[in-house]
């Protein structure tokens, strides 16, 4: 598939599902890149190879540290007017920042969040028609 075709496919997918544009998919340099930003980079011809590789391996990469970073960043960007409530053993209403902390501290919940984030990326990949 040519870069132009990838761009067209991404444009169509993100037009239909704009929520996915804010999902972090890779790290380029020291910067976390979302799907929407990846599309912009392809349009501008920046880091084309890295972006294409990230799209190709979305949810399939075994780089746990990178996945952890992406997952933490995903939750850190959760809007402040949202909380995540848990029907678990204790009363909890977690902010995005607190969810990111769980990941960075490597708690039981944090590990599950990373694992689920990988699975989420696979769903994103499927929704993009990958």
């Amino acid at each position: 598939m040519t870069v132009e075709e990838v761009v067209q496919r991404l444009e169509k997918a993100l037009r239909e599902r704009p929520a996915l544009a804010r999902v972090p998919i890779t790290v380029i340099g020291n910067r976390v890149v979302t799907l929407g930003e990846a599309l912009e980079m392809l349009r501008r011809g920046e880091h084309v190879e890295e972006v294409l590789r990230a799209l190709e391996t979305l949810g399939l990469s075994n780089e746990y540290e990178k996945l952890r970073l992406l997952a933490a960043e995903f939750f850190r960007r959760m809007p402040p007017h949202m909380r995540v409530m848990v029907l678990g053993g204790e009363t909890r209403a977690l902010s995005g920042e607190e969810l990111a902390e769980e990941i960075l501290k490597g708690t039981e919940l944090g590990k599950k969040l990373v694992e689920e984030f990988r699975s989420y990326l696979l769903t994103v990949r499927a929704l993009l028609g990958g």
């Binding site: 996915l20 909380r83 029907l87 678990g88 995005g96 689920e116 769903t123």
Partner: protein
């Protein structure tokens, strides 16, 4: 022998998460779900009544075919008000012969299979944390009418229960619930609203960790349609009364909302 068309439900409300669940369950007989729950007896143990002694008494007294509840849970325990233990591994024989649905974290890991091993007809629940997105600040809200994020997380469980109420099998109900999670995931993924991606994430989480054990062909009862005055009728009476009492449009609007709400409560308690 558990009685068909009878349900016992526990709904503690001691913290925001359980309180959301209690409010959600109160919608079970709304038109879009159980539609009046015709032919059903539903015994709800809410708030301080959601404790083991009361639950066991209700099970013995009403002998329901369907038991459902919201509450905090762990792999081997399901709790009620103030985290009082209701059922735990090796202590759930009271659920033998019944269909069980627990809207709770983790009970699908050990407690659910144990319930089925001890004779429960079927168990549906979750083998990981049940997590849902809610509006800030955390407080007791009705997820169906007051929290547009949480709505998507409590609607699928209601669809599950409504399918059972309407005579569907456990398998039918489970499938309807999964379809509903998919519906909400699809809807939120199409939203441009900031945070929609997080709603999709947790909907997927809950969908992927919903589990069913036991007899999927089991039914809990059958639905008997009942003629009830439509909600607009009650709302209209409320509006007329509101206007007559206050002589203002605002009074009519308040009366309209009050009439609709009272009718909804009446229906859900039916």
């Amino acid at each position: 022998m558990p009685r068909e068309n009878v349900a016992v439900c526990t709904a503690p409300d001691f913290d925001p998460a359980t309180c959301y669940g209690k409010h959600a369950f109160a919608h079970l007989c709304d038109p879009q779900y159980g539609d009046g729950c015709g032919g059903w007896e539903i015994h709800a143990l809410e708030g301080d009544r959601a404790v083991r002694e009361r639950v066991l008494r209700a099970l013995a007294l009403h002998d329901p075919k369907l038991f459902f509840g919201v509450g905090h849970g762990s792999e081997d325990t399901f709790t009620g008000q103030n985290l009082e233990r209701l059922f735990w591994v090796c202590n759930c024989r009271e659920l033998a012969g019944r269909v069980v649905y627990l809207l709770s974290c983790l009970t699908g890991a050990k407690l659910g299979p144990d319930m089925v091993a001890k004779g429960a007809l079927a168990y549906v629940g979750y083998d990981r944390e049940y997590m849902f997105v809610a509006m800030f600040p955390p407080m007791c809200r009705d997820p169906i009418t007051e929290d547009r994020y949480a709505y998507a997380f409590f609607d699928p469980p209601l669809v599950f229960l409504a399918t059972l109420i309407k005579g569907g099998t456990v398998g039918d109900a489970f499938k309807a619930m999964i379809d509903r999670y998919n519906y909400w995931m699809d809807l939120w993924s199409r939203s441009g609203e900031e945070g929609a991606e997080h709603v999709v994430f947790f909907l997927k989480w809950d969908r992927d960790h919903a589990v069913v054990y036991g007899d999927q062909s089991a039914v809990a009862g059958r639905y008997v349609p009942t003629a009830r005055p439509a909600i607009p009728g009650a709302a209209l009476v409320g509006a007329v009364m509101g206007y007559a009492l206050t002589n203002t449009i605002e009074g009519a609007v308040v009366g309209f909302m009050l009439g609709a709400a009272l009718d909804r409560v009446r229906r859900s308690r039916a």
